[in-house]
Each structure stands twice: as structure tokens, then as C-alpha cells.
């Protein structure tokens, strides 16, 4: 056992630093072509980096101030491109992979629907085969980035007679297709347009945009939710980005609040949580380096990290007093906090934070998963799991 992180003089760092000095402001395309967007992928997309090298690349990119591609095009880089690599055809790889990794085409994930949040497999959007096209009809919601995306990974029902999990298929849909309407959801932060509703009115999707085979949609969707890269960097408050517990303690030190014993104690609790989550993330990395199969640790970490993030931004908000209620007001001088992207804004991160125990599995669903898969407690009984999908709806309307 060795908790040492790769040293400052690690020769692998020199290679990355050299590239960064030659490309001081790398474009998305340059990063992707160098293999630094998905370093853990095989060549030519990545550099087949073992987890330690990935760690080095992430750290060096952060120091050089490079905006990580997985924050610019998260759906593609973190989730869907991996699925495309595993399930896509050669022609699909050729057409979609490089523009996605270069962040030239932004992706979104068309999964959730108004009628089913946690019960994702109950989704109602249908894709009916019509010659060399599928015709898609339905509505998606809580779609991040749909307003910017060129490509949507769509899960739709191709077989309404099959049980709910079995009748689903995955598609790579062009978001500019006729019949696609994107409408922003104004969330409670009111600040930025993070989520959207997407209406699909007889959208014609070419049959060669089917990802995998018909009926594989559920498997593809769930694998996408699990391929999220181990968060190698700082355990930031919001989805791993934004301010960390270390930033919080530094901020409270600068603002003088640490002399209040109650603030000090709360801040220390949050700091310790943050350090332990960081260690758990490293341990997951070691598991991968030792080729141990990934278990439910991802769900455990998400279950711990989401409320941890809320604690970070809540604490910062609380010490502001009434000034914290002024829109856009920051708790600490601007030099505090090393996060990147929109969540580096403490005020926005706070108002956004209720979402982190809802998105990518609500806290309650995650606790069910953890209790069932890790502790072996009895599974929740889903009376609709085996029924043909059409009968579920009949049972509901009766």
C-alpha cells in the first residue's frame, strides 16, 4: 500500500508539460488529436493511459489553465463517446467520434421523461420503423445542454409489446432535425440555462443512426451512466466541479470566520469529508490499476459526494449572512477557489446545489442501490418489470 501521488519530477509529467508548452492555448481539436481528451482510451483516440498517467494529465492540464473537455462537452466525453466506441459501427465512429472529442459537436442525453423520473425504463417516447428511417414521437425533459447540442443520444421504445426494459433502443439523433423543439427549463437558480425540455414530433431518424441493435437501449443507457470517469481531480461541490472543501477552508481563513468555533467545527467536518472522498476516488483508481472489477463503489461515492458538495456551498453561503441573498454576491475574495467552469461561481453553485441529489440518480435511489447491491438487502419489487409495456399503460388508465 502506498498513498504517494505521482511525484513532481515524474518523467511522465515532462512529456505532458512539453506538449502544453508547445500548445499554450490548445483547441479542442488539438487536445483530442493529442489523445488528451480521453487519455484512457486506446490509440488513436486516447494514449492508452494507465490511471496514474491520467492523473498526471488531469493535474498538468489544470495547472496550465486548460478548460477540461469533459466540462465543455460532458455528455460526449464522460459518457456517450465510450458507448459509441463499444457499440457503434465503423461508419458511426468515423462520423461522430472526433467532432465529439474535439468539442466541435456538443452532445446531450435524451433519457428522462416527464412521466418517469427515477423509473427511467418506463419511458414513453416511441421510435417506429418506416422504411430506412425511424419516426420518433414523444417528449424528453431535464436534458442538459440540449440548447447547444448538435447530437442527442436518444433512448426510445421500438417494441411496445416487450417488457419495459426490453423494448428500448438507442439512437444518435441530429438535434437540428425537423420536429425537434427545445425549450429551456428555468431552474430555481434563474441564472443560466442548464436544462431543457425536448419535444419530438414525428422526427425522422435515419436507420443507420441506430446505436447497437434494437432492444439494446436499456443496456446502453445504463452502461453510459456507469462509464463516468473516475473523478481524478478535486472533489468539487457540483458534479465534482466547482469549489472544493479545501477552497472552503481557505476562503473561511481569508474571511476570518474560522475563529468562530461553530464555523470552525463545521468547516473541519466538511474538510475531512472532502479529504476522505478524495482518498476513496484514488482507491477506485487503484482498483482499476489492479484490474479489479468495478462494483457499486461509484454509487457509494456519488451518494457521499452529492451531499458533501451541498455542505460546501451551504457553509459558504451561511457565513455571508444577509449579503448572501444578494444575487451574484460571492462569499470570498475572487482569488479563493481554483475551480473551472460555471460552477466556480460560489453563488451560482449554491443555488444550483439542490440538483446534485436529484440528477444521475436521486439520493434515495442511490441509497436503494447501495443497500441492495452492497449489503444484499431485498430488492425493491417492481410489479411492472415483467409486463408487456402496453399492458402497464392499460393497467394505469383502468
Amino acid at each position: 500500500m502506498d498513498f504517494r501521488l505521482p511525484a513532481e519530477n515524474d518523467p511522465r509529467r515532462a512529456v505532458v508539460r512539453k506538449w502544453l508548452s508547445e500548445h499554450p492555448k490548445p483547441s479542442g481539436r488539438q487536445l483530442a488529436e493529442a489523445g488528451y481528451t480521453v487519455p484512457h482510451w486506446p490509440k488513436p483516440w486516447g494514449v492508452a493511459a494507465e490511471p496514474e498517467l491520467q492523473f498526471i494529465i488531469d493535474e498538468e492540464m489544470g495547472r496550465a489553465g486548460v478548460m477540461p473537455p469533459n466540462l465543455i462537452n460532458p455528455v460526449a466525453v464522460n459518457n456517450c463517446a465510450q458507448t459509441l466506441l463499444s457499440h457503434g459501427t465503423d461508419a458511426q465512429h468515423e462520423r461522430f467520434l472526433m467532432p465529439a472529442l474535439a468539442c466541435e459537436e456538443i452532445w446531450c442525453m435524451l433519457f428522462s421523461e416527464p412521466a418517469g423520473g427515477s423509473d427511467l425504463a418506463a419511458l414513453r417516447t416511441t421510435a417506429r420503423r418506416d422504411g430506412d428511417h425511424y419516426v420518433v414521437k414523444g417528449q424528453k425533459t431535464w436534458t442538459s445542454l440540449a440548447h447547444k447540442a448538435q447530437i442527442g443520444v436518444l433512448i426510445a421504445r421500438t417494441d411496445t409489446a416487450a417488457p419495459k426494459h426490453a423494448g428500448l433502443s438507442a439512437f444518435l439523433m441530429d438535434m437540428k432535425s425537423p420536429g425537434v423543439t427545445v425549450r429551456p427549463i428555468i431552474d430555481l437558480s434563474g441564472c443560466k440555462n442548464e436544462y431543457n425540455e425536448v419535444f419530438l414530433d414525428d422526427v425522422r431518424v435515419p436507420a443507420d443512426r441506430l446505436l447497437g441493435k434494437e432492444g439494446e437501449g436499456w443496456r446502453i443507457a445504463t452502461s453510459q451512466l456507469q462509464t463516468e470517469r473516475v473523478a481524478l481531480s478535486k472533489p468539487g461541490a457540483i458534479w465534482g466541479a466547482g469549489p472544493s472543501a479545501r477552497d472552503l477552508v481557505n476562503g473561511l481563513a481569508v474571511s476570518g470566520h474560522l475563529s468562530d468555533p461553530v464555523v470552525r467545527d463545521e468547516a473541519a467536518k466538511i474538510f475531512i469529508e472532502g479529504e476522505l472522498l478524495r482518498l476513496l476516488a484514488y482507491r477506485a483508481l487503484s482498483d482499476r490499476m489492479n484490474a479489479k472489477p468495478s462494483g457499486p463503489e461509484g454509487a457509494i461515492r456519488k451518494m457521499l459526494a452529492a451531499p458533501h458538495g451541498q455542505h460546501i456551498v451551504e457553509m459558504a453561503k451561511k457565513v455571508q449572512g444577509p449579503r448572501g441573498m444578494i444575487a451574484g454576491e460571492q462569499p470570498f475574495p475572487s482569488q479563493v477557489g481554483s475551480g473551472k467552469g460555471m460552477f466556480a461561481d460560489w453563488d451560482y453553485a449554491f443555488w444550483f446545489s439542490p440538483a446534485v441529489t436529484l440528477g444521475v440518480g436521486t439520493q434515495e435511489i442511490l441509497k436503494n442501490i447501495v443497500a441492495e447491491r452492497t449489503l444484499g438487502l431485498p430488492r425493491e419489487n417492481d410489479p411492472t418489470a415483467k409486463l408487456p409495456w402496453t399492458e402497464i399503460n392499460r393497467a394505469k388508465s383502468a
Partner: protein, 373 residues
């Protein structure tokens, strides 16, 4: 970097688990009216001595096993999991103290006997409030013709009863500072009484020194006491983390078996979610302890921070999870005949000994600020 345990560590943990599962029986403590006298302290210690664990941290040059803190974490964890009533922890703490604070002559005289299991050490540094910081005048040391004469008291001394040598800290009248002294417990001017301590699996003692002679240990620097203190915090944390994991397993198994309204209670989300929370705490406590064990083994700069984080987190996790366990077991978990209270009491005791979680969290802030500077 490799955050996983080596094969050797896992083998040591496994052999400790097999041994303790076979030898440690807590049944006598589950009869109402039981006290630590029924805990088989001495019998368990004899068996542990036969395993060679009396000298687990004694260097090989003094006849011990010379194991690192990561190895010790494996054994301590199993001790904590089974509650193993025995003076293992007190002797371990005393050994660390002598290793760091003793002179070479004292180490050569005492450590081989400790390793052989023929002598036992303990540390007595708590004042009447349980404070172990360097401001207690409750024990004074004055130089005399026979050596230093120690007068006063120490409390909350783990496993002082039956120890052959005590290490105490006292206010040295000569220097006006804190000093550490070695006391032979055969002295007539010393009494040790086991306190009426709620944790029935551990002997925690009052020590009265009525002018008995103490040998001065090697001159002390603040770093020396910190070295010992960090290891004590780690040891208590290791027991807490393993106890948390154990109480989680026991409670999850019970939730699968106990049926209410026609279903195992573990199928209700109120129970599931509490158990999932416990699991999260157990995972964090475990990684905190391993990190501290590694940092101490390596004498890494962050060792004090890691030990303080481990003690603060693991003790709170243990207290919370033992409480939840009783709630999930329901009223049966509130009875003396169930093991739940033994774990609950160990959790509270460990949380209060050698500084509570809030005190360590306050230190964490300072240490983190120093590390960042």
C-alpha cells in the same frame, strides 16, 4: 501509488480474524450484572501473547515483530471488530511511548520482556477530566536522593491494572516543564484501581502515586509526544472503523432476517437508507484509518493531520452507527443480552479518550492550514 492492501496485509488480517473469532467469547458479558471482571481479560491476553502480538511494534532488535502501523492496523482492526477484551491496546500504547520516550538502556531492559510477553507496559497521562494535554499539575515530580519522587494522580489510564511498568507524565518541579517517567508498579507507593467504566470490554484505571520513585525518560521535545499521541489516535480510530464495519454487518444481517408486516424489515426504505448511510460512514472511516496508518508508517509530513482526521471521523461514525444499530434492531437491541450495547459503549469510550472529535477537528483546521502554507 497504490491505495490497496498488499497480500501480506490481507493475510495478517485474515489470520487475526480466524484466531479472534475462535478465541473471543463475549457471552459472559451479556448476563445482566456483568462487569469487566467477567471479560476474560487475562485469559485472552495469554492467548494473544502466544500469538506474539505483545511485541507487535517492538523492533526486531529488541526481540519483537517490528511491524509497521499498516500491519498493526490489520490486527487492531480485528481486535476492534471482536472487541477482544485484553490489555493489548494499553500495552501497545505503552510500547510506543517507551520506544519514543525511553533511553536506549531502558528500552534494552524492558522491551525484550514485553516482546516475550513476560512484562507489560501502560501509559498514564490523563488528568481527572481526561485531558491529556500538557497543562495538568495533578502529578508532580521532585528530585530526591532515590530519583524523582512522584506525587499525585493520573486517570483514564488504559490497562494500567496488571501492567509491570507505567509511563506517566508529570510536572517536573526542577525544569518547570512536563516530563515523562517510568514507574515500576511493584512499588508500595502506587495504587491502581479499575474505574467503573461503562465499556465492559476494557480496563480503564485510576492511578495514585504517593511518592513512588520514577525513572526519568529521555529528554522530551514536543515532536516526541506528538509521535506517541498520533499513534494512539490512530489505534483508537482503527478500533472505531472496524467496529463500525462490524456493527453495520450485524445490523444488515438482522434486517434481512427480522420480518414485520410480512416482509424482512430490510426491504423497507427507512431501514435501507439508514444502512446505506452507515455503509458510507464505514467506507470513509476505513480509508481514513488506512491513510493514517500509511502516513505514520512512512513518518510522512501529513501524519498528524491524517491521525487527527481518522480519530475524529471514525469515532463519530462509530457512535452514530452503534446508535442506529440499536434503532434498527428495535427494542431487543436495547437489552443487556444483545451485543449492541457493548459496541455502543466502546464507541462512546473511544470517542472521549485522548481528546474528543471536536478537539481534533479544531486541530485539523490548524494542521491543514499549515500544510497549505
Amino acid at each position: 501509488m497504490n491505495f490497496l492492501l498488499d497480500e501480506d496485509h490481507l493475510a495478517l488480517k485474515q489470520s487475526a480474524a480466524v484466531f479472534l473469532d475462535k478465541e473471543i467469547v463475549l457471552d459472559a458479558l451479556l448476563k445482566p450484572g456483568a462487569s469487566v471482571d467477567q471479560a476474560n481479560y487475562r485469559g485472552n491476553w495469554e492467548k494473544i501473547a502466544a500469538m506474539g502480538w505483545t511485541g507487535i511494534t517492538v523492533p526486531e532488535s529488541y526481540g519483537g515483530l517490528g511491524l509497521s502501523c499498516v500491519d498493526v492496523a490489520m490486527v487492531l482492526g480485528e481486535m476492534g471488530r471482536t472487541l477482544a477484551p485484553s490489555p493489548f491496546l494499553g500495552n501497545l500504547i505503552g510500547t510506543w511511548a517507551l520506544l519514543r520516550l525511553g533511553t536506549e538502556e531502558q528500552k534494552q531492559r524492558i522491551l525484550p520482556a514485553v516482546a516475550a510477553g513476560t512484562a507489560r507496559l501502560a501509559l498514564a497521562v490523563g488528568d481527572a477530566a481526561g485531558d491529556v494535554a500538557d497543562h495538568s499539575r495533578e502529578l508532580g515530580a521532585e528530585r530526591s536522593a532515590q530519583g524523582f519522587l512522584l506525587k499525585g494522580a493520573r486517570a483514564f489510564a488504559i490497562d494500567a491494572a496488571g501492567a509491570d511498568w507505567l509511563i506517566v507524565d508529570a510536572h517536573n518541579a526542577e525544569t518547570g516543564r512536563r516530563g515523562f517517567f517510568l514507574v515500576d508498579t511493584k512499588s508500595d507507593d502506587l495504587t491502581v484501581d479499575i474505574m467503573n467504566w461503562r465499556d465492559l470490554t476494557r480496563q480503564v484505571c485510576d492511578v495514585r502515586l504517593n511518592g513512588c520513585v520514577g525513572e526519568e525518560l529521555a529528554p522530551l521535545t514536543p515532536a516526541d509526544w506528538a509521535w506517541v499521541r498520533d499513534r494512539i489516535l490512530f489505534a483508537l480510530a482503527a478500533e472505531c472503523a472496524a467496529g463500525t464495519q462490524q456493527i453495520l454487518s450485524m445490523t444488515a444481517e438482522y434486517a434481512k432476517e427480522r420480518v414485520a408486516f410480512g416482509k424482512p424489515i430490510g426491504s423497507y426504505q427507512a431501514i435501507k437508507h439508514s444502512l446505506a448511510d452507515m455503509l458510507g460512514q464505514a467506507e470513509c472511516a476505513n480509508v481514513a484509518v488506512l491513510y493514517a496508518a500509511w502516513a505514520l508508517s512512512e513518518e510522512a509530513p501529513q501524519a498528524s493531520l491524517a491521525a487527527a482526521m481518522a480519530k475524529a471521523f471514525a469515532a463519530d461514525a462509530y457512535v452514530d452507527c452503534t446508535h442506529r444499530s440499536i434503532q434498527i434492531f428495535g427494542a431487543i437491541g436495547f437489552t443487556w443480552e444483545m451485543k449492541n450495547h457493548l459496541y455502543l459503549k466502546r464507541a462512546h469510550a473511544n470517542a472521549e479518550l485522548f481528546g474528543n472529535s471536536r478537539a481534533h477537528r479544531s486541530r485539523v483546521i490548524d494542521l491543514a492550514q499549515q500544510a497549505a502554507a
